[in-house]
Point group: D2
């Protein structure tokens, strides 16, 4: 943690507080597997009501899974951070019944801006989503941080 970060923060406490209020992540059945500063691992079981008009999984489900990982990883330092933009590539379709894993990695972080990539794989270790997102780091404390 760099000197400019809020002090005495616990990434797990912050992500727990965020997750407790995150009704959409819960609606999707997203689980937090692990979290550390600038990183997290999430899992998710794909349900039948996540299909699109082709019978495969709606791209918004896969994106939302990555977006939750972006939020948890970027807020883990205790500074409230909001997404400015994100992009996703879909190398392979996601099917009903799949179990997905998202691994968030911090690519860069300055005082105001940070960039993350999130790799989304299925139960066969095939990559089904490649997500990249940029956040703006506000001066406010994140939920569950020492300053909140």
């Amino acid at each position: 943690m760099s000197p400019e970060e809020p002090e005495n923060n616990n990434p797990a406490s912050i992500v727990k507080a965020m997750y407790d209020g995150d009704r959409f992540s819960k609606l999707l059945g997203i689980n937090v597997e692990s979290v550390s500063e600038g990183a997290c691992v999430l899992s998710m079981k794909i349900r039948e009501d996540m299909a699109n008009g082709f019978g495969i999984v709606h791209g918004g489900v896969t994106f939302a899974f990555g977006d939750s990982a972006l939020a948890f990883a970027s807020n883990s330092y205790g500074r409230l951070s909001v997404a400015l933009e994100a992009s996703i590539s879909y190398p392979a379709p996601v099917n009903i019944g799949d179990t997905l894993t998202a691994v968030a990695r911090e690519l860069s972080r300055t005082r105001r801006i940070a960039v993350y990539d999130i790799t989304i794989t299925n139960q066969d270790k095939n990559v089904v989503g490649l997500f990249k997102g940029t956040v703006y780091r506000t001066s406010k404390p994140a939920p569950g941080s020492s300053g909140s």
Copy 2:
């Protein structure tokens, strides 16, 4: 419609067939307002269970709304088209209770690849999402098309 497109197709019939099977768009309460070749307009009312850990709307909801518009606009010619990648920028937050509108516009279309942008606004005409997506146009018929 260019000569290479499937013939005798009705964009409304295709989008109706897609929407009928699109359980995730229905879960989100997405409505189809209008549709034509390469274009569509959707609406959506934001519910409390769409919030993220900050009490504003989860970015995945806004993205999924844009992604449904991408699917409907790109499949409207009768050729089954799948998203390769998409990106979104969030100029302003979406709040619980907002009513969103998505307007999809075709930016380019060749035999195999087409690009769309979707502008997402709230009830005050403020832009809350700028979505751009690229699709791969397969040789298969879309649901509800003359070839399906």
Copy 3:
């Protein structure tokens, strides 16, 4: 111009000062056709030394053309603004000898963040590049502005 913008600025003076120092835009032969707050139009003639290994134009040339438009449009208010990220889609190839036009449009602007799209067309009005970029608006004055 919103009340929070620097006062008494002339977009043309700012862009002229930026362009005067912009050696790479000059190396590429980029011309400024017009400029106003949050917008600009640029032109560029494609030379033989802009080809890639396939004999068509290197994607970096088209992107750089869009990136110059992003810089000029976003700095036109007098506040020094730097790109955080950008994306481009290539609907059609650019050929040696083409004359390109870039039109920059402001999609959103808050105190710290602004988003622009730039449409790049050739002499036949075909779209050859679709560029979207996000800038961070610093507290410093842009070159050529009243505060510089």
Copy 4:
């Protein structure tokens, strides 16, 4: 190499043939350090004529460097591949005199579509560009391949 790839190809020969005709990569002083199937490493020395209007390096230079890496890595199998879209994030500015390195990595590859990320660092190992690109893999042979 999967069974569906062209046979008896040498990634180094293909990239050499592409580079020989790639006048823009040469104009920028891009060097090929190494190449293998789906991957490559490039280097580049930043010159004074690559500055933008702020005296730092034009974003188009950094993007073009990544775009050359995308082209070389994606064509290395012997199948002519063209970029559909690409995005870049700029975690830190590039300065005149810097020496940049681009490392291309294949994230996914199917018969028609492949996705790559390219990490661009300076001489101090700081990340200055994060590039992601999608290519369309045609049925034609790449320059320098066994089928060309």
